[in-house]
Symmetry: C2
Subunit: 189 residues, 2 copies
DNA sequence: CTATCAAACTAACAATCGTTAGTTTTGTTT
DNA sequence: AAACAAAACTAACGATTGTTAGTTTGATAG
Protein backbone atom coordinates (compact mmCIF):
# COMPACT_ATOMS: atom_id res chain seq x y z
CA UNK A 1 0.00 0.00 0.00
CA UNK A 2 1.36 3.41 -0.99
CA UNK A 3 0.78 4.83 2.48
CA UNK A 4 -2.35 6.82 1.78
CA UNK A 5 -2.73 7.25 5.52
CA UNK A 6 0.62 8.98 5.89
CA UNK A 7 -0.46 11.40 3.20
CA UNK A 8 -3.65 12.10 5.09
CA UNK A 9 -1.65 12.73 8.25
CA UNK A 10 0.36 15.35 6.39
CA UNK A 11 -2.77 16.96 5.04
CA UNK A 12 -4.33 17.06 8.49
CA UNK A 13 -1.22 18.58 10.03
CA UNK A 14 -1.10 21.11 7.20
CA UNK A 15 -4.74 22.02 7.79
CA UNK A 16 -3.93 22.92 11.37
CA UNK A 17 -0.94 25.04 10.38
CA UNK A 18 -2.79 26.72 7.51
CA UNK A 19 -5.53 27.64 9.96
CA UNK A 20 -3.06 29.19 12.38
CA UNK A 21 -0.95 31.22 9.94
CA UNK A 22 -2.42 30.90 6.47
CA UNK A 23 -1.10 28.96 3.48
CA UNK A 24 1.60 31.43 2.42
CA UNK A 25 3.10 31.81 5.87
CA UNK A 26 3.49 28.06 6.42
CA UNK A 27 6.71 26.61 5.01
CA UNK A 28 7.34 23.02 4.09
CA UNK A 29 9.96 23.03 6.86
CA UNK A 30 7.29 24.12 9.37
CA UNK A 31 5.07 21.29 8.23
CA UNK A 32 7.93 18.78 8.34
CA UNK A 33 8.87 19.83 11.87
CA UNK A 34 5.28 19.26 12.98
CA UNK A 35 5.42 15.78 11.47
CA UNK A 36 8.78 15.10 13.11
CA UNK A 37 10.62 14.61 9.81
CA UNK A 38 12.70 16.65 7.35
CA UNK A 39 11.10 18.77 4.63
CA UNK A 40 12.43 16.65 1.78
CA UNK A 41 10.78 13.57 3.27
CA UNK A 42 7.35 15.08 2.75
CA UNK A 43 7.82 14.59 -0.97
CA UNK A 44 7.74 10.83 -0.58
CA UNK A 45 4.03 11.28 0.11
CA UNK A 46 2.85 14.44 -1.62
CA UNK A 47 3.65 16.07 -4.93
CA UNK A 48 3.74 19.71 -3.87
CA UNK A 49 2.58 22.25 -1.31
CA UNK A 50 -0.07 23.25 -3.78
CA UNK A 51 -1.43 19.71 -3.90
CA UNK A 52 -2.01 19.83 -0.16
CA UNK A 53 -3.99 23.05 -0.42
CA UNK A 54 -6.11 21.94 -3.34
CA UNK A 55 -6.88 18.58 -1.73
CA UNK A 56 -8.10 20.31 1.41
CA UNK A 57 -10.24 22.88 -0.37
CA UNK A 58 -11.70 20.95 -3.29
CA UNK A 59 -12.75 18.04 -1.09
CA UNK A 60 -14.65 20.36 1.23
CA UNK A 61 -16.19 22.39 -1.56
CA UNK A 62 -17.51 19.22 -3.17
CA UNK A 63 -19.01 18.20 0.16
CA UNK A 64 -20.95 21.44 0.32
CA UNK A 65 -22.09 21.11 -3.28
CA UNK A 66 -23.32 17.56 -2.67
CA UNK A 67 -25.13 18.58 0.51
CA UNK A 68 -26.74 21.58 -1.12
CA UNK A 69 -27.87 19.55 -4.14
CA UNK A 70 -29.76 17.15 -1.88
CA UNK A 71 -31.46 20.05 -0.17
CA UNK A 72 -32.39 21.78 -3.40
CA UNK A 73 -34.16 18.76 -4.90
CA UNK A 74 -36.03 17.92 -1.69
CA UNK A 75 -39.71 18.77 -1.38
CA UNK A 76 -39.32 20.52 1.95
CA UNK A 77 -40.56 23.98 2.83
CA UNK A 78 -38.20 26.92 2.57
CA UNK A 79 -37.75 27.02 6.33
CA UNK A 80 -36.92 23.31 6.41
CA UNK A 81 -34.39 23.81 3.64
CA UNK A 82 -32.73 26.62 5.54
CA UNK A 83 -32.61 24.39 8.61
CA UNK A 84 -30.96 21.71 6.55
CA UNK A 85 -28.36 24.16 5.27
CA UNK A 86 -27.54 25.13 8.83
CA UNK A 87 -27.24 21.45 9.71
CA UNK A 88 -24.93 20.90 6.75
CA UNK A 89 -22.56 23.65 7.80
CA UNK A 90 -22.47 22.47 11.40
CA UNK A 91 -21.83 18.87 10.34
CA UNK A 92 -18.95 19.81 8.03
CA UNK A 93 -17.52 22.13 10.66
CA UNK A 94 -17.55 19.38 13.27
CA UNK A 95 -15.85 16.99 10.89
CA UNK A 96 -13.15 19.30 9.54
CA UNK A 97 -12.95 22.72 11.15
CA UNK A 98 -9.28 23.10 10.31
CA UNK A 99 -9.76 22.49 6.61
CA UNK A 100 -12.53 25.07 6.46
CA UNK A 101 -9.99 27.72 7.34
CA UNK A 102 -8.23 27.09 4.03
CA UNK A 103 -11.50 27.00 2.12
CA UNK A 104 -12.49 30.36 3.57
CA UNK A 105 -9.18 32.20 3.64
CA UNK A 106 -6.72 30.57 1.24
CA UNK A 107 -8.80 29.64 -1.80
CA UNK A 108 -7.20 32.52 -3.74
CA UNK A 109 -3.88 30.67 -3.62
CA UNK A 110 -5.25 27.80 -5.66
CA UNK A 111 -3.70 27.53 -9.10
CA UNK A 112 -5.55 28.28 -12.31
CA UNK A 113 -7.54 25.13 -12.90
CA UNK A 114 -8.57 24.41 -9.33
CA UNK A 115 -9.19 28.09 -8.70
CA UNK A 116 -11.72 28.21 -11.52
CA UNK A 117 -13.33 24.97 -10.33
CA UNK A 118 -13.60 26.30 -6.80
CA UNK A 119 -15.08 29.62 -7.88
CA UNK A 120 -17.61 27.84 -10.05
CA UNK A 121 -18.70 25.74 -7.06
CA UNK A 122 -18.91 28.71 -4.74
CA UNK A 123 -21.05 30.63 -7.20
CA UNK A 124 -23.29 27.62 -7.69
CA UNK A 125 -23.69 27.21 -3.94
CA UNK A 126 -24.57 30.86 -3.41
CA UNK A 127 -27.00 30.83 -6.32
CA UNK A 128 -28.79 27.84 -4.86
CA UNK A 129 -28.93 29.52 -1.47
CA UNK A 130 -30.26 32.75 -2.99
CA UNK A 131 -32.90 30.91 -4.98
CA UNK A 132 -34.19 29.11 -1.89
CA UNK A 133 -34.56 32.40 -0.06
CA UNK A 134 -36.15 34.06 -3.09
CA UNK A 135 -38.80 31.37 -3.33
CA UNK A 136 -39.42 31.70 0.40
CA UNK A 137 -40.05 35.40 0.02
CA UNK A 138 -42.30 34.77 -2.97
CA UNK A 139 -44.55 32.34 -1.12
CA UNK A 140 -44.60 34.34 2.09
CA UNK A 141 -42.53 32.01 4.26
CA UNK A 142 -39.73 34.56 4.52
CA UNK A 143 -39.98 38.26 5.30
CA UNK A 144 -39.57 40.62 2.38
CA UNK A 145 -36.24 42.17 3.33
CA UNK A 146 -33.44 42.59 0.80
CA UNK A 147 -32.54 39.08 -0.35
CA UNK A 148 -28.82 39.77 -0.68
CA UNK A 149 -28.71 40.97 2.90
CA UNK A 150 -30.54 37.92 4.22
CA UNK A 151 -28.31 35.50 2.30
CA UNK A 152 -25.14 37.28 3.30
CA UNK A 153 -26.15 37.55 6.93
CA UNK A 154 -26.90 33.85 7.25
CA UNK A 155 -24.04 32.57 5.15
CA UNK A 156 -21.42 34.75 6.81
CA UNK A 157 -22.29 33.25 10.18
CA UNK A 158 -22.28 29.69 8.89
CA UNK A 159 -19.00 30.18 7.07
CA UNK A 160 -17.29 31.47 10.19
CA UNK A 161 -18.41 28.64 12.45
CA UNK A 162 -15.04 26.96 12.08
CA UNK A 163 -13.39 29.82 13.95
CA UNK A 164 -15.83 29.87 16.80
CA UNK A 165 -17.09 26.39 17.49
CA UNK A 166 -13.77 24.73 18.35
CA UNK A 167 -13.35 27.30 21.12
CA UNK A 168 -16.71 26.43 22.67
CA UNK A 169 -16.67 23.64 25.19
CA UNK A 170 -20.07 23.44 26.75
CA UNK A 171 -22.17 23.50 23.62
CA UNK A 172 -23.47 20.16 22.39
CA UNK A 173 -23.80 19.85 18.62
CA UNK A 174 -27.55 19.21 18.75
CA UNK A 175 -28.18 22.14 21.04
CA UNK A 176 -26.04 24.26 18.76
CA UNK A 177 -28.11 23.27 15.74
CA UNK A 178 -31.34 24.09 17.52
CA UNK A 179 -30.20 27.43 18.88
CA UNK A 180 -28.45 28.44 15.68
CA UNK A 181 -31.63 27.78 13.72
CA UNK A 182 -33.59 29.90 16.17
CA UNK A 183 -31.12 32.78 16.19
CA UNK A 184 -30.55 32.87 12.44
CA UNK A 185 -34.16 32.44 11.41
CA UNK A 186 -36.17 34.04 14.20
CA UNK A 187 -33.74 36.68 15.46
CA UNK A 188 -32.72 37.63 18.95
CA UNK A 189 -35.40 40.15 19.99
CA UNK B 1 7.13 68.07 5.28
CA UNK B 2 8.16 64.47 5.50
CA UNK B 3 5.51 63.35 3.02
CA UNK B 4 3.04 61.82 5.39
CA UNK B 5 0.63 61.59 2.47
CA UNK B 6 2.99 59.41 0.43
CA UNK B 7 3.19 57.04 3.38
CA UNK B 8 -0.59 56.91 3.50
CA UNK B 9 -0.70 56.14 -0.22
CA UNK B 10 1.59 53.19 0.40
CA UNK B 11 -0.55 51.96 3.28
CA UNK B 12 -3.69 52.26 1.20
CA UNK B 13 -2.14 50.36 -1.70
CA UNK B 14 -0.89 47.72 0.72
CA UNK B 15 -4.38 47.37 2.21
CA UNK B 16 -5.75 46.53 -1.21
CA UNK B 17 -3.03 43.95 -1.89
CA UNK B 18 -3.30 42.43 1.58
CA UNK B 19 -7.02 42.03 1.02
CA UNK B 20 -6.47 40.25 -2.27
CA UNK B 21 -3.71 37.84 -1.27
CA UNK B 22 -3.03 38.20 2.43
CA UNK B 23 -0.05 39.79 4.18
CA UNK B 24 2.40 36.93 3.72
CA UNK B 25 1.76 36.49 0.02
CA UNK B 26 2.33 40.16 -0.81
CA UNK B 27 5.97 41.06 -1.40
CA UNK B 28 7.52 44.48 -1.09
CA UNK B 29 8.22 44.23 -4.81
CA UNK B 30 4.50 43.65 -5.47
CA UNK B 31 3.67 46.71 -3.45
CA UNK B 32 6.35 48.78 -5.16
CA UNK B 33 5.11 47.79 -8.59
CA UNK B 34 1.61 48.90 -7.63
CA UNK B 35 3.05 52.26 -6.56
CA UNK B 36 5.08 52.50 -9.76
CA UNK B 37 8.44 52.58 -7.98
CA UNK B 38 11.19 50.15 -6.94
CA UNK B 39 10.99 48.17 -3.71
CA UNK B 40 13.91 49.93 -2.08
CA UNK B 41 12.19 53.29 -2.57
CA UNK B 42 9.39 52.28 -0.26
CA UNK B 43 11.83 52.51 2.62
CA UNK B 44 12.12 56.27 2.19
CA UNK B 45 8.58 56.38 3.61
CA UNK B 46 8.08 53.35 5.80
CA UNK B 47 10.27 51.48 8.23
CA UNK B 48 9.25 47.92 7.43
CA UNK B 49 6.55 45.69 5.98
CA UNK B 50 5.51 44.97 9.53
CA UNK B 51 4.96 48.66 10.22
CA UNK B 52 2.45 48.80 7.37
CA UNK B 53 0.48 45.89 8.77
CA UNK B 54 0.44 47.17 12.34
CA UNK B 55 -0.58 50.67 11.25
CA UNK B 56 -3.53 49.27 9.32
CA UNK B 57 -4.71 46.96 12.07
CA UNK B 58 -4.09 48.96 15.25
CA UNK B 59 -5.72 52.08 13.85
CA UNK B 60 -8.88 50.16 12.99
CA UNK B 61 -8.97 48.26 16.25
CA UNK B 62 -8.75 51.51 18.19
CA UNK B 63 -11.63 52.88 16.15
CA UNK B 64 -13.78 49.95 17.18
CA UNK B 65 -12.76 50.29 20.81
CA UNK B 66 -13.59 54.00 20.82
CA UNK B 67 -16.95 53.38 19.15
CA UNK B 68 -17.83 50.59 21.51
CA UNK B 69 -16.87 52.63 24.58
CA UNK B 70 -19.31 55.35 23.59
CA UNK B 71 -22.07 52.80 23.17
CA UNK B 72 -21.35 51.08 26.47
CA UNK B 73 -21.59 54.24 28.57
CA UNK B 74 -24.74 55.48 26.82
CA UNK B 75 -28.09 55.17 28.57
CA UNK B 76 -29.80 53.53 25.62
CA UNK B 77 -31.79 50.32 25.69
CA UNK B 78 -30.12 47.06 24.77
CA UNK B 79 -31.77 47.07 21.37
CA UNK B 80 -30.60 50.61 20.70
CA UNK B 81 -27.08 49.65 21.71
CA UNK B 82 -27.12 46.72 19.32
CA UNK B 83 -28.37 49.01 16.58
CA UNK B 84 -25.48 51.38 17.32
CA UNK B 85 -22.98 48.52 17.11
CA UNK B 86 -24.36 47.58 13.70
CA UNK B 87 -24.06 51.23 12.64
CA UNK B 88 -20.47 51.33 13.88
CA UNK B 89 -19.46 48.32 11.83
CA UNK B 90 -21.14 49.61 8.71
CA UNK B 91 -19.52 53.04 9.10
CA UNK B 92 -16.03 51.61 9.55
CA UNK B 93 -16.58 49.22 6.65
CA UNK B 94 -17.61 52.05 4.35
CA UNK B 95 -14.58 54.09 5.36
CA UNK B 96 -11.92 51.36 5.13
CA UNK B 97 -13.12 48.02 3.81
CA UNK B 98 -9.66 47.08 2.56
CA UNK B 99 -7.99 47.58 5.93
CA UNK B 100 -10.60 45.42 7.63
CA UNK B 101 -9.33 42.48 5.64
CA UNK B 102 -6.01 42.69 7.46
CA UNK B 103 -7.69 43.17 10.82
CA UNK B 104 -9.77 40.06 10.26
CA UNK B 105 -7.33 37.77 8.50
CA UNK B 106 -3.77 38.92 9.15
CA UNK B 107 -3.73 40.01 12.78
CA UNK B 108 -1.77 36.85 13.66
CA UNK B 109 1.19 38.20 11.73
CA UNK B 110 1.56 41.15 14.07
CA UNK B 111 4.73 41.05 16.12
CA UNK B 112 4.81 40.44 19.84
CA UNK B 113 3.92 43.82 21.29
CA UNK B 114 1.25 44.82 18.80
CA UNK B 115 -0.12 41.30 18.77
CA UNK B 116 -0.75 41.41 22.49
CA UNK B 117 -2.25 44.90 22.23
CA UNK B 118 -4.56 43.78 19.45
CA UNK B 119 -5.68 40.66 21.27
CA UNK B 120 -6.38 42.70 24.39
CA UNK B 121 -8.57 45.05 22.37
CA UNK B 122 -10.40 42.24 20.65
CA UNK B 123 -11.15 40.56 23.96
CA UNK B 124 -12.31 43.84 25.45
CA UNK B 125 -14.60 44.45 22.48
CA UNK B 126 -16.13 41.00 22.66
CA UNK B 127 -16.60 41.24 26.43
CA UNK B 128 -18.45 44.53 26.03
CA UNK B 129 -20.62 43.02 23.32
CA UNK B 130 -21.37 39.96 25.42
CA UNK B 131 -22.23 42.07 28.45
CA UNK B 132 -24.68 44.17 26.47
CA UNK B 133 -26.47 41.04 25.26
CA UNK B 134 -26.39 39.49 28.74
CA UNK B 135 -28.10 42.53 30.26
CA UNK B 136 -30.66 42.45 27.47
CA UNK B 137 -31.50 38.86 28.26
CA UNK B 138 -31.68 39.67 31.97
CA UNK B 139 -34.20 42.48 31.50
CA UNK B 140 -36.24 40.61 28.91
CA UNK B 141 -35.35 42.72 25.88
CA UNK B 142 -33.52 39.81 24.28
CA UNK B 143 -34.65 36.23 23.91
CA UNK B 144 -33.10 33.73 26.23
CA UNK B 145 -31.06 31.76 23.72
CA UNK B 146 -27.45 30.83 24.36
CA UNK B 147 -25.58 34.13 24.71
CA UNK B 148 -22.40 32.91 23.02
CA UNK B 149 -24.39 31.85 19.98
CA UNK B 150 -26.19 35.18 19.73
CA UNK B 151 -22.98 37.18 20.06
CA UNK B 152 -21.12 35.01 17.57
CA UNK B 153 -23.95 35.03 15.08
CA UNK B 154 -24.22 38.82 15.06
CA UNK B 155 -20.53 39.59 15.24
CA UNK B 156 -19.55 37.13 12.52
CA UNK B 157 -21.87 38.89 10.09
CA UNK B 158 -20.66 42.36 11.03
CA UNK B 159 -17.03 41.31 10.80
CA UNK B 160 -17.48 39.93 7.30
CA UNK B 161 -19.22 42.99 5.90
CA UNK B 162 -15.96 44.15 4.32
CA UNK B 163 -16.02 41.16 1.97
CA UNK B 164 -19.58 41.57 0.90
CA UNK B 165 -20.51 45.23 0.86
CA UNK B 166 -17.96 46.43 -1.72
CA UNK B 167 -19.48 43.96 -4.19
CA UNK B 168 -22.99 45.35 -3.72
CA UNK B 169 -23.91 48.20 -5.99
CA UNK B 170 -27.54 48.96 -5.48
CA UNK B 171 -27.63 49.07 -1.71
CA UNK B 172 -27.55 52.51 -0.13
CA UNK B 173 -25.77 52.72 3.21
CA UNK B 174 -28.85 53.87 5.12
CA UNK B 175 -31.03 51.17 3.64
CA UNK B 176 -28.32 48.66 4.49
CA UNK B 177 -28.29 49.80 8.10
CA UNK B 178 -32.04 49.54 8.39
CA UNK B 179 -32.31 46.13 6.77
CA UNK B 180 -29.27 44.74 8.56
CA UNK B 181 -30.77 45.77 11.89
CA UNK B 182 -34.01 44.05 10.98
CA UNK B 183 -32.39 40.85 9.76
CA UNK B 184 -29.90 40.52 12.60
CA UNK B 185 -32.29 41.41 15.39
CA UNK B 186 -35.69 40.23 14.19
CA UNK B 187 -34.71 37.33 11.92
CA UNK B 188 -35.88 36.38 8.47
CA UNK B 189 -39.03 34.37 9.15
C1' DC C 1 22.24 80.04 -11.12
C1' DT C 2 22.93 77.39 -7.08
C1' DA C 3 22.05 74.98 -2.93
C1' DT C 4 18.97 71.89 -0.82
C1' DC C 5 16.37 67.89 0.15
C1' DA C 6 12.82 64.63 -0.55
C1' DA C 7 12.26 60.73 -3.24
C1' DA C 8 13.57 58.07 -6.58
C1' DC C 9 17.31 54.90 -8.22
C1' DT C 10 21.11 50.67 -8.68
C1' DA C 11 23.30 47.00 -6.55
C1' DA C 12 23.69 43.86 -3.39
C1' DC C 13 23.30 41.19 1.21
C1' DA C 14 22.02 37.14 4.05
C1' DA C 15 18.23 34.35 4.85
C1' DT C 16 14.76 31.49 3.47
C1' DC C 17 11.73 29.44 0.01
C1' DG C 18 9.86 24.97 -2.57
C1' DT C 19 11.83 21.30 -4.53
C1' DT C 20 15.13 17.59 -6.57
C1' DA C 21 18.69 13.95 -6.56
C1' DG C 22 20.81 10.44 -4.58
C1' DT C 23 21.62 7.69 -0.29
C1' DT C 24 20.69 5.34 4.04
C1' DT C 25 17.65 3.44 7.42
C1' DT C 26 13.86 0.64 8.84
C1' DG C 27 10.71 -3.01 8.88
C1' DT C 28 8.58 -6.82 6.66
C1' DT C 29 8.46 -10.95 3.53
C1' DT C 30 10.51 -14.65 1.57
C1' DA D 1 19.74 -14.43 6.12
C1' DA D 2 18.63 -12.17 1.92
C1' DA D 3 15.71 -9.29 -0.67
C1' DC D 4 12.62 -5.70 -1.14
C1' DA D 5 10.06 -1.55 -0.57
C1' DA D 6 8.62 2.27 2.15
C1' DA D 7 10.11 6.22 4.28
C1' DA D 8 13.40 8.53 6.22
C1' DC D 9 17.87 11.06 5.45
C1' DT D 10 21.87 14.63 3.59
C1' DA D 11 23.06 17.99 0.45
C1' DA D 12 22.18 21.14 -2.59
C1' DC D 13 19.81 24.00 -6.45
C1' DG D 14 17.95 28.37 -8.24
C1' DA D 15 14.63 31.66 -7.09
C1' DT D 16 12.77 34.93 -4.10
C1' DT D 17 12.40 37.32 0.33
C1' DG D 18 12.86 41.87 3.30
C1' DT D 19 16.08 45.09 3.77
C1' DT D 20 20.58 48.10 3.52
C1' DA D 21 24.01 51.22 1.60
C1' DG D 22 25.23 54.48 -1.36
C1' DT D 23 23.98 57.32 -5.53
C1' DT D 24 21.23 60.03 -8.82
C1' DT D 25 17.18 62.70 -10.07
C1' DG D 26 14.14 66.55 -9.98
C1' DA D 27 11.68 70.16 -8.01
C1' DT D 28 11.81 74.25 -5.03
C1' DA D 29 13.70 78.20 -2.46
C1' DG D 30 17.37 81.69 -1.75
Amino acid sequence: MKSESRKQEIINAASVLFKEKGYSAVTMRDLAKTMGIKAASLYNHIQSKQEILSTIIIELAEEFIAGMDKIVVSDHTTVQKLENIIDLHIDVTLRNADGLASLNSDWMHLEEENLQYFEKMRLEYEDNFREIVRKGVANGEIKSYNIEIMVFSTLSTLRTLYLWYPKQQNIDANILKKDMISVLLKGVV
